[in-house]
């Protein structure tokens, strides 16, 4: 059946709560309202106020108390209402959620999942379209995940809830309504592996979350140019499946990494640097980076001029081929 990313995520939460009663869902408006995107819809109705509940309006409080709940033995899945409202929780994430296991010499493990609807493209007001994944990729002790398809939305969220390590789970909010013909539950490729969504020979496009779909569209459009582009869905930023990325570039000789976040010091820099270190002699052109400009996310009427699209991606392929 046709399942949207939103439905897949909601079902994943439902199934995880049904499978393990240590799983809790908490955050702002996740209860009666079911979350502003309805990803937690009906969970409180189904599992009660002790399993799914609203918290006061305080993100550091949400993550900090979730750490305590995890120490006790629960598996909290917390929702940050929007990307731009994750920042108040930054200290709890970096100083405790990520470090606790290491600090405690392995005695304290924190199976916490932080769900973050992220990215732009939905015409939202400011602070509602941020792509902060690079911050979290630079923090040791947490895993960073971003599904690009409904099937991965379900499967990667289930695995993220199961893994004993803390996970930052980035949900591409502009793809909440993206449909895929699947039956739930579904198990996709293993957690920590990248997937070749489209095999090709001209060059490799690499993306995660919202840009996977855009890269697939670019690859289709590229056919008119006679280009056969490979598209890789990175899926998990940390752990990162370097071998799959490198192997692809060794075949195609060219790579373009794509994300919505500003390019400067973005996660694309890590992908570019890493691939270059490992596929240097195979590269016919430098790994190119496509992303947002190095500016704050603009007002809604301008986001189409900020966000990477098919044209900007193909321009990069063009530049790559020109080397």
């Amino acid at each position: 059946m046709a399942v949207t990313m939103a439905q897949a995520l909601n079902t994943a939460l439902h199934d995880a709560m049904a499978a393990d009663d240590r799983v809790l869902v908490l955050g702002e408006d996740v209860g009666a309202l079911g979350g502003v995107f309805r990803i937690t819809d009906k969970l409180q109705e189904r599992f009660g106020e002790k399993r799914c509940f609203d918290t006061p309006l305080a993100e550091s409080g949400i993550v900090g108390s979730a750490i305590g709940m995890a120490m006790y033995g629960f598996k909290p899945v917390v929702e940050m209402q929007f990307d731009g409202f994750t920042y108040p929780a930054f200290e709890q994430i970096i100083s405790h959620l990520a470090k606790m296991r290491n600090r405690s010499r392995g005695t304290v493990t924190l199976p916490v999942v932080i769900r973050i609807p992220y990215g732009g493209g939905i015409g939202a007001v400011e602070h509602h379209s941020e792509s902060p994944e690079a911050f979290f990729a630079h923090i040791a002790g947490i895993k960073v995940v971003s599904p690009g398809t409904p099937a991965d939305g379900y499967s990667l969220l289930r695995r993220s809830i199961e893994t004993p390590d803390p996970v930052i789970f980035f949900e591409p909010k502009r793809r909440y309504w993206l449909k895929e013909e699947i039956d739930l539950p579904i198990e996709t490729e293993p957690f920590g592996t990248a997937v070749i969504r489209r095999a090709g020979t001209t060059a490799t496009l690499m993306a995660y979350g919202p840009m996977v779909r855009t890269c697939m569209e670019a690859a289709e459009a590229a056919e008119d140019e006679g280009w056969d582009l490979e598209v890789i869905d990175v899926r998990t930023l940390n752990p990162l499946d370097t071998p799959t990325l490198v192997e692809s570039v060794q075949r195609t000789g060219r790579a373009i990494v794509v994300h919505e976040a500003q390019v400067f010091a973005g996660f694309g820099a890590e992908l570019a640097a890493r691939i270059t270190e490992r596929a240097f002699y195979h590269l016919e052109a430098p790994v190119l980076r496509v992303g947002g400009w190095d500016i704050p996310y603009p007002a809604a009427k301008l986001e189409e001029f900020f966000l990477p699209d098919v044209d900007r991606i193909l321009d990069a392929v063009d530049r790559s081929l020109a080397f």
Binding site: E28, D29, G31, A32, L33, G34, V36, D54, P56, L57, A58, S60, G61, G84, F85, Y87, P88, G123, A124, V125, E126, H127, H128, F264, W293, D294, I295, P296, P298, A299, A300, K301, L302, E303, F305, F306, D311, R312, D315
Partner: protein, 367 residues
């Protein structure tokens, strides 16, 4: 045994909330909160509320018609916003949240400027220094620290200036609100924290937001006076704010005011309130409409007749209509402006990126 300073008793808010107009619009003056208002002030308060409601209605319509991406209505909070803003002197400042259209209008901010944020034309479109009205703040409670810092600065500078820091009931849960209250009290900054308790933070009711007797009781822990008023009573909202503002102006430090009101509309046009509140509750508050109540009072005082009402309605319509055209006729923003204001001294790569965008724009024109 030496007495505590400040004396805790002096910080406890009045109970019940200060009300100067009862539910039937009867004036019940209070010696603690004397009204220093003339007839023209009463008319001004009425006028501001009517215009605010009209503008708000127009904004909702514009959103429904696809002219705005989203909008946060102030319906039901007109008295709370107008009363408080009216208590300020021209040199004073307001640091608003995103639901402060009423306060903005009192400060003379062009309403279309506010709506451009919601339309997504620009991230803001008014100069805060022209109206002493800061940018709308979306990240909850963050503006309370800017308000505190501005007030601290005025204090350091010896300026006669008071800052009104607006926040919601939900915002009081954020760490930033706590730090703002504490900084303002420690530095005795001329800052008045004005909490519009409209009973909800999106779907979360006050009972799940705090266990405090009232929000005003939070003041005690900072050593500042807590005040509480009927936020649907424009005179109480004015008089209570006035007292706090004058205390701050006189060097008496900050205060925390809780204006008890209700959000009659959805949280924003994107929200579905039927999921978390009942029609009965809504009806209860509808009966306490702030404008209707004040109207009864005005008529009773012979301050309002049909001509006047018609005149004000006309003006409100006109303002709403102008705002509408300013929005519908607004030019599409210039993409190149994205690079304009980020830095005074932008990094070198902006030049390259500007060129790249310029090329993209030319390219898409060709197609």
């Amino acid at each position: 045994m030496d007495a505590l300073v400040p004396d805790p008793a002096s910080l406890l808010p009045p109970h019940p909330p200060v009300q100067l107009l009862d539910d039937h619009g009867e004036l019940r003056e209070s010696p603690d909160f004397p009204l220093d208002l003339k007839d023209e002030d009463f008319r001004a308060l009425y006028r501001h509320m009517v215009i605010a409601r009209r503008v708000d209605k127009q904004a909702i319509a514009l959103q429904r018609q696809g002219q705005l991406g989203v909008y946060a209505s102030l319906l039901g909070q007109e008295a709370a916003q107008v009363g408080a803003a009216y208590a300020l002197a021209p040199q004073d400042w307001i640091f608003p949240s995103y639901r402060e259209m009423g306060a903005a209008l009192v400060r003379g901010v062009d309403p279309s400027a506010i709506l451009h944020l919601f339309r997504g034309t620009w991230l803001s479109n008014h100069d805060p220094y022209e109206s002493n009205f800061a940018l709308l703040a979306i990240p909850i409670a963050t503006q309370t620290l800017h308000a505190t810092g501005y007030a601290m600065a005025a204090g350091l500078d010896g300026r006669d200036l008071v800052v009104l820091s607006c926040l919601g009931d939900g915002a009081t849960s954020e760490g930033d609100a706590h730090e703002a209250f504490n900084f303002a009290a420690v530095f005795q900054a001329p800052c008045v924290f004005y909490v519009q308790n409209n009973q909800y933070a999106i779907s979360v009711p006050l009972s799940k937001q705090t266990h405090a007797p009232t929000i005003a009781h939070k003041a005690v822990g900072y050593g500042m006076p807590g005040l509480r008023c009927d936020g649907n009573d424009v005179l109480a909202s004015y008089a209570v704010t006035r007292q706090a503002v004058e205390r701050a102006r006189g060097g008496g430090g900050p205060s925390l005011i809780e204006a008890v009101t209700y959000r009659m509309e959805a949280h924003t046009t994107a929200d579905d309130p039927t999921r978390y509140r009942t029609p009965e509750e809504l009806a209860e508050w509808k009966a306490r409409d702030p404008i209707a109540r004040f109207e009864t009072f005005m008529e009773g005082q012979g301050l309002l007749d049909d001509d006047m009402r018609a005149e004000i309605d006309e003006e409100a319509k006109a303002i709403g209509a102008r705002m509408r055209s300013q929005i519908t006729d607004a030019p599409h923003p210039d993409p190149m402006e994205m690079f304009e204001h980020v830095y005074v001294e932008p990094p070198g790569r902006y030049a390259e990126q500007r060129e790249q965008l310029r090329a993209e724009l030319d390219g898409s024109e060709e197609q």
